[in-house]
Amino acid sequence: MTDDQVVEVQEEETPPRTLPDQAVLRAVAEQFDDIEWILSSGQDVFILPKDLVLDVVQAAKDAGFELLADLTVTDYFRGRSPRFELVINLLSMQHRLRLRLRAPVPVDDVQVPSVVGVYPGANFYEREAFDLFGLVFDGHPDLTRILMPDEWEGHPLRKDFGMGSVPVQFKDSHQVQ
C-alpha cells in the first residue's frame, strides 16, 4: 500500500456517537442515549441532562466507581445558558479511572436529583452546593446551610453576589451593654 492509497476516513452523514475508549466508561455511556462524551484536557467527561444524573451515577457506581471524589457547581452567569453546571467527579480505584459528570442546570429550575442515596459521601457536598449556589437537591435528607450561618440570605458563590465584604451581623450574639 503506497501513500497515495491512504484515504482519509470520510465522515458519515449521521456520525455515530463517539464513545469513550475505556471499556468501563463505554459500558456506562452505552446505557444512556443522552450522554455526550468529551475529552477535557485529556480527562473523560460526560455531559448529560440533569434529570439523568441519578441514573448515570448509579450506573457508574455499578461499573466500579466506588468513590465520589467531588461534587461542585460552576456558575457561568452570562457566559452560557443554562447558567449553572453541576459537576461530579467520580473515582474508580479498581480501574484507576476518573470520570467527570457535568449537568447543565438553568437558573429558573434549580432542582437536581440528590445522589446521597448512591454515595452517602455526597451529603456535605450537596449541602455546600445548596449553601453557596442555591441548587436544590431533591431527596437530600438534610438540605441545610453548611458553611454560612443558617440565617444568611443569598448564595455567595453566585456571580451576581457581590464580591466585597459585608457588614458584621450579630444575629446570634446576646445583647451587650
Binding site: S40, S41, A69, D75, Y76, R98, G121, M163
Partner: protein, 453 residues
Amino acid sequence: MTDQKRRDKRNVDVWLTGTEEPGWLVDSTDEGAQKMAAHETAGRLLDQEGLVVGDDRVLDEDVAPEDELMIINMGPQHPSTHGVLRLNIELEGEIIRRSKPIIGYLHTGMEKTGEELTWLQGPTNVTRMDYLAPFHNELAYSLAVEKLLGIDLPPRALAIRILMTELNRVSSHLVALATNGMDIGALSMMLYGFRDRERILAFFEKTTGLRMNHNYIRPGGVAADLPPDWQDDIEFILDKVPPRILEYEDLLKANPIWMGRTLDVGVITLEECLAYSVTGPTLRAAGSGWDLRKAFPYSGIENYHFEVPVGERGDVYDRYRVRVEEIWQSLSIVKQAAESMPEGDYKTDDRKVAPPPRARIDESMEALIHHFKIYTEGFQVPEGEVYVAIESPRGELGAYLVSDGGSRPLRMHMRTPSFANLQGLPVMMADSLIADTVATIASLDPVLGDVDR
C-alpha cells in the same frame, strides 16, 4: 457540705418562699431521674453503675427513650476540636449514639476570592486552606493550571516540588502526632512533635521566606531556587529527625496507655470509607493501599521508590501507625530527591507564563513590560476545565479549575480532604464512649481551614 445538709437547706429555702412542698424529686437533678429506668436490663444496669466495664454496646433490643438521650454541644471553641469544629453529640449515658459535625466557622470565601485573583496570584490564596500542608495546596492548584496551559516543567522544578511537599508531609504528620498525643494526654508528644517540626520549618523559611503559607510553588515552576547550601540543611534534617521518630516510637508504639486509648477506638471500615468519600491515611488504615502518588503520579513522583503503608483495623492506632510509616517513606523520598536533584532551571522558560529573568529586565525594555504584564494583568489560560488531584497528608486534594480564556479563573474549587473526611466522623464515633471523642477527632487530623475554605 454533705448531701443531706444541702438538701435540707434547699428544703428550707423552698418552704420559706411559701411552696407547699419541695418542687423536685429527692432523687432527681436537672438532668433527670437518677434512678435507673425500669426497662434497663440487669446487665446494662451493672454496666451503667460502673460495676462492669464494656466498650462495645450495640443495644438494639432496648433502645433508650427520647428523654434519656442528652445532646451536648462540643465546640466551636474547644481545645481538642483542632480549630473551630463543632459537634452535636447525642449521648445515652456515656455512649455516643449519634453525632453531627457542624462546620463553617472558618469559612473564608476562598473560592470567591480565587475568582478575583490572577492565575499567578492563586497559590497565595489556596496555600491558606490547609495551613499544615501549604505546599500541597499550591501544588494541586499549580498542576491544574499547568494542565490547562499544557506546559512542561524542567526536571529541577519537579524535583524541588517533590522535595518540598514530602518534607511538608513529614511536618504535617508530626503535628498530627503532636496533637493526637496532646488530646489523649501524652503531653510530651505535643512538645516533641512541634520541636521537630521547627527543624523542617527552618528550612522552609530559608527557602521560601515564610514558615507557613509560602506561595512558593506557582504555575510554571517554583518561586525561587533552593538556597545555596540546601544540601547541608536537608542533611541536617535527615540527620536529626529520624532518631527522634525512633524515640517517639519507643514512647508510643507499645505504650500500654496509648494502646488502651487507641486500639479498636474510632473504627471505620473500608466500605464505610469509600461510601463517605474518606481518603488519605484514614482510608489506608482501613486496609486500602490507595495512594494517589502511586495511582496517578504527579510531578515525577513515579521516579522515587517508596511504599504505601497500610493498616488493618481502621482504628485510631492504625491511623497513628500509618502516619508514622508515612513519615519514614517521605523522609526516604526526601533523601532520594536530595541525592538526585537535577541541575537546571527551576521554572519553565515558557515566556507566556514565566516572566523573563531579572538580569534581562535591566537590559531590555520589552522584558520589563513583559514582567509587569505578567504580574499585573497576568497570563491567559486557554478555555477549558480540569480536575487534578494529589495526595495531601490528609487525602485526596483536588483542584477543579474552569477557565473562560481570561487571566482569572471562572471557577476555582478545591476538593479538600478534611471536608470529606469529616463525614466519616459520625460513623467512627457511633456507639463509642464520649471519652474517645477527642482521640477519634485527632486521629482524623482535620484541618478546619481545609474543611471550610
